[in-house]
């Protein structure tokens, strides 16, 4: 078992730059997710780690070993593919035994290890089945057992759950996390599903336009996104451009008007450097609705309800402002009756709910 270290990885496909100077370290035993929209280079990066692609520039370390030019079969990486890639002509047992047979292990040892791996994913009784006789979730578990059977140094998962339906995906996420904890193996998951990345990972690396936009714990990347790209990619977000007012030493946003018609002077927890304009972020669930005219609250804004969608556990409200609109997520429990479109509403939030962003994407 070992960590992974990527140093200044660049990948060019002709004119196109898929990865641009990516460096990151995955600690031993860590569950690390590479998250990003399609075409951001995350799969390319995984293929470089797995040895299916040699980077144009940069060095890949697994443990202390420089593996940049090693072919995949000489690296100690177990890989799980989106299509599962089970060998359709082999039984479940033979699929899991495949890597062990390559290693020329003794028959008894192979049998023992295969059954161990299968019991890890609770499929011992399916050893004699053919892949086509299994459900999608079971095939996925065989693919994981097969990758783990060779006791790799790292486990690479390429969108392994995206072919499963929503409910099964949730179950498999939990199972995947449990297996990873039990085995304690360094794992890199590639996904475009932010919820999956947030719920599974120790840390997340967000990739956009071939560059690492941010690396952090799920909490960090959600609550303190580095830039606009990260903020917009993970979760829903309200973004506003704030101007600094020299006279009052506060920020104002043209969109925000109080119930008395005055411009709101924002109270913020942490000041960015003064001057110019700043991009600020407000998560929809941080915004609260208050009763009429309650101006004791800081950051109190008045608007008109433009749209209400009921999602069950929460309500998604679109509040029309002086200019533009703001999205608010409110708990279902807060409303005995649904608010009506056209009502005047008052919203407010705490100073620490305002997060300043870099307006630029790291490109």
């Amino acid at each position: 078992m070992s960590g992974i270290n990527l140093e200044h990885i660049s990948q060019h496909f002709g004119e196109q730059i898929a990865l641009d100077d990516v460096s990151l370290t995955v600690k031993e035993g860590e569950f690390f997710s590479l998250l990003g929209p399609s075409g951001c280079g995350k799969s390319t990066l995984l293929n470089i780690i797995g040895g299916f692609l040699e980077p144009t520039k940069g060095v890949v370390y697994i443990g202390d070993q420089d593996v940049t030019t090693l072919p995949p079969y000489q690296r100690k990486t177990g890989m799980v593919f989106q299509s599962y890639a089970l060998f359709p002509h082999l039984t479940v047992f033979d699929n899991v035994a495949y890597g062990l047979k390559v290693q020329k292990k003794k028959k008894a040892e192979i049998k023992q290890k295969v059954m161990e791996s299968l019991s890890l994913v609770q499929l011992e009784s399916f050893a004699k089945r053919m892949p086509h006789q299994l459900s999608g979730g079971q095939q996925q578990r065989v693919a994981i057992a097969r990758a783990l059977a060779i006791q790799p140094a790292v486990l690479l998962l390429d969108e392994p759950l995206s072919n499963l339906d929503a409910k099964l995906r949730k179950n498999m996420q939990t199972e995947l996390r449990n297996i990873q904890r039990n085995v304690g193996i360094t794992t890199i998951l590639v996904t475009h599903d932010q919820e999956e990345a947030l719920s599974l990972s120790d840390r997340i690396g967000i990739l956009g336009e071939g560059k690492i936009q941010q690396i952090g714990t799920p909490l960090e990347v959600y609550r303190q996104p580095n830039n606009r790209f990260v903020a917009e990619f993970i979760g829903q977000v309200n973004l506003f451009e704030a101007e600094y007012d020299e006279v009052t030493s506060t920020y104002t946003v043209p969109h925000f008007i109080q119930s008395n018609g005055k411009q709101v002077q924002l109270k913020v927890a942490a000041f960015k450097e003064k001057s110019e304009k700043h991009l600020l972020m407000l998560r929809p669930e941080r915004i609260k609705l208050s009763s009429v005219g309650e101006e004791v609250q800081p950051n109190h804004v008045t608007g008109v309800l433009a749209d209400v969608s009921y999602i069950g556990h929460s309500l998604r409200l679109v509040v029309g402002l002086n200019q533009g609109e703001i999205i608010v997520h409110a708990s279902d429990a807060a409303f005995p009756e649904l608010p009506q479109v056209g009502e005047t509403v008052h919203i407010h939030w705490q100073p620490e709910d305002i997060v300043f962003l870099d307006s630029k994407v790291h490109a």
């Binding site: 797995g50 040895g51 079969y73 593919f81 299509s83 890639a85 060998f87 002509h89 053919m130 990758a147």
Partner: protein, 289 residues
């Protein structure tokens, strides 16, 4: 439900022209030939009205014909094996062509010989292989041989010509099954520690067996049944069943014997083809539901 039934009736109706064609030009002649093969002939080769097994007895008791059955199957088998061996690398290159346009070019290159008639292509082999042909001329000019080799009018010439004519029919199904393979299977094998060669023999080759069997079925039936190619490059004395049939029809005019030989050949080909289809079915049943 009624609409569905109507639809189905319409589908059958659409199949009618093709079915009619096959009945008139394939099934009916086969039945007529089958009946003919049981007729007797007199010494002047006139077909008599009486039925017997005499023609089949004639086929199976004449050494030359029994030998012809054996060598027909043997030559077809050799052609099939050589075709498969040569077709596999070609199919591989075809499928792995880095650019779609290059792939299209390879496909055209592969199929273009099919646009010329078999007769013309076979004549080309005569030009190449004869005593004063291109290959002998070149070998003599290079002082590699003194007397011209006799490469024409034997079974080897027949097999060479067969392979050239039938190669595309082996390449195409193999290429199709290579294309159908999940593109992650080879990376999966390599991530499990298997090198390229092991991956080929344990993953790629087994998964392209259906393509190889399909190719083998086509090549074998074509090779066992053709008479133009052996006639032109093998000479009419080669012990091949299609040539014997040709002789009986065109020279001896013993139509019942020719019919009996045709059915013997048909049954030989069907036996091999059914064995291959059975293997194909077994293999596919293993991999799919």
């Amino acid at each position: 439900m009624r609409i569905k039934k109507k639809n189905q009736r319409f589908h059958w109706f659409m199949l009618l022209p093709a079915c009619l064609f096959l009945v008139v030009f394939l099934l009916a002649p086969l039945v007529m030939m089958f009946v003919l093969s049981f007729r007797d002939v007199d010494s002047m080769m006139n077909t008599l009205q009486s039925y017997s097994l005499s023609q089949y007895l004639h086929v199976f008791t004449t050494d030359a014909y029994v030998k012809a059955i054996g060598s027909t199957v043997w030559v077809a088998l050799q052609t099939t094996v050589i075709c498969l061996l040569m077709a596999y690398p070609a199919a591989y290159v075809l499928v792995k062509a880095p650019h779609p346009r290059l792939r299209a070019f390879f496909y055209i290159l592969l199929v273009s010989p099919l646009l010329t008639s078999v007769v013309i292509r076979t004549f080309a082999w005569i030009v190449l292989l004869s005593q004063n042909g291109l290959i002998n001329g070149m070998l003599i000019d290079l002082h590699l041989i003194e007397k011209p080799l006799s490469m024409l009018w034997n079974m080897n010439a027949v097999i060479i010509a067969y392979v050239q004519v039938m190669l595309p029919f082996a390449v195409l199904p193999i290429a199709t099954s290579l294309t159908d393979m999940d593109r992650h299977l080879r990376p999966a094998s390599m991530s499990l520690g298997a090198g390229r060669i092991r991956t080929f023999f344990h993953v790629t080759l087994p998964l392209t067996i259906p393509g190889m069997i399909t190719g083998a079925i086509i090549v074998f039936s074509l090779a066992a049944g053709s008479y133009i190619t052996p006639l032109l490059v093998g000479g009419r004395m080669q012990p091949l069943l299609p040539l014997s049939i040709y002789q009986q029809v065109m020279q001896v005019y013993n139509l019942p014997l020719a019919a009996a030989m045709s059915f013997t050949l048909l049954i030989c080909v069907l036996a091999v083809v059914s064995l291959l289809s059975y293997l194909l079915k077994r293999w596919e049943a293993r991999m799919h539901a």
